[in-house]
Symmetry: C2
Subunit: 247 residues, 2 copies
Amino acid sequence: MNAPGQTISPSCSDCPIRHRAVCARCDSEELEQLEAIKYYRSFEAGQTIIWSGDKMDFVGSVVSGIATLTQTMEDGRTQMVGLLLPSDFVGRPGRDGAAYDVVATTDIVMCCFRRKPFEQLMDATPHIAHRLLEMTLDELDAAREWMLVLGRKTAREKIASLLSIIGRRDASLGTNGSSGPMVFDLPLTREAMADYLGLTLETVSRQMSALKKDGVIRLEGKRHVTIPDMGRLMEEAGDDSDGGVFG
Amino acid sequence: MNAPGQTISPSCSDCPIRHRAVCARCDSEELEQLEAIKYYRSFEAGQTIIWSGDKMDFVGSVVSGIATLTQTMEDGRTQMVGLLLPSDFVGRPGRDGAAYDVVATTDIVMCCFRRKPFEQLMDATPHIAHRLLEMTLDELDAAREWMLVLGRKTAREKIASLLSIIGRRDASLGTNGSSGPMVFDLPLTREAMADYLGLTLETVSRQMSALKKDGVIRLEGKRHVTIPDMGRLMEEAGDDSDGGVFG
DNA sequence: CGATGCATTGACCTGTGTCAAGCCCTGTGG
DNA sequence: CCACAGGGCTTGACACAGGTCAATGCATCG
């Protein structure tokens, strides 16, 4: 617990997640109201942002960086239940207690709102509630897609699924030219991947090696991944290889 | 509960799911508007209500009966991603295509709304949107809880988890006196249980037998279950045995 | 330099899947 | 009334994917 501290608030209009976050649909007047109650907080990689069961007195959006949502059983088994990327929303209006641990995987900046004022604002401005509904429905779809991965896919397919999801996200953020091989850095350790996939880190490591040996992926160092053929990867993931848009 | 088809509309005020469904928060005027666009449909056990990928021109609520939400891979592996009980909502405003198969497990009655009028109504009446957000957040929590079950629990724990969920639901519908052993009928075949739990039906069967042998449950016939000690069952499920309310 | 944290690899074990036989109902038709 | 077929379920024998335990490699950091 050292210095996760306030940062100066840049204006919402310059915000990198302006049109993807909860505030996406707000008009300029609504934005002012939000701006009045917002504040930034940053956390270092590895810090726990919220402890499951703790009182949640704020909600907010990830501005930059990555965090994970995890559940832990008494004996220590843990399952990641969500991956929070820039623009994703954290917290649940209408509930005090946090249901999951939220942990910063990289250094992270969050745009926070105290919960009560935010809830009032939500009641007053349908644009916020509407956008939140939309985002929640998307997350529900993602969670259900993940249920198929967890329940029915083999270890190799699970790894391929994770890589293709991360790859697609990076593509949608325009990091890559849309043609040619896809290249990105894994934002997760082997252990975090295992927690996401319901595997052990040894199995993750073995399957990464296997995919590499079979030419499905290339690895430089432990984290830097190249995917020469996205279609091939999606076959390995057991998905329809024809890259349907989504949902 | 026989012929699939339209049924006479009873008034919303007599509706058994009046204060749990999307319409829960509507005032009488809003209810009238909903009433104007609603219609009932019934389906027989085993019928597919919606095919994944099909155009969805309606949304609606389960009034009575049980349905499942499932995803299927090309090679036939299937995973249940949701269990729809009375008052649960089906369909996603703002999207044409269904993302999952919806199958009636028992005979079922649904209260349907054509999608477009419903969406308009949703924009006009915040009570509906608000309630839908609340329900979607609950479903998201349930999906995430299920991710832990799928990813990290053993077969025995999975079975115990499923039984305890079904048991708790039945209790919340007041079927049981809140004390004494809990008794209910399984609404699912062994195969459906397997699809829910990410197991094979053989493993489900074996673990049911094991739980029975160990006195955790009692079985009369294949479906009628008695749970003499709920705390014991929850230990078997790997959950905190102190029956905390919920999330 | 050793220490520390992540990752890889190997050897072995076990829980769950697979394949196959057979049981118990219920319903149907001779 | 019996025979029989079919669906749901149970049980057994065996195989294998993935877990467990343990050793080692490879950076980075003080």
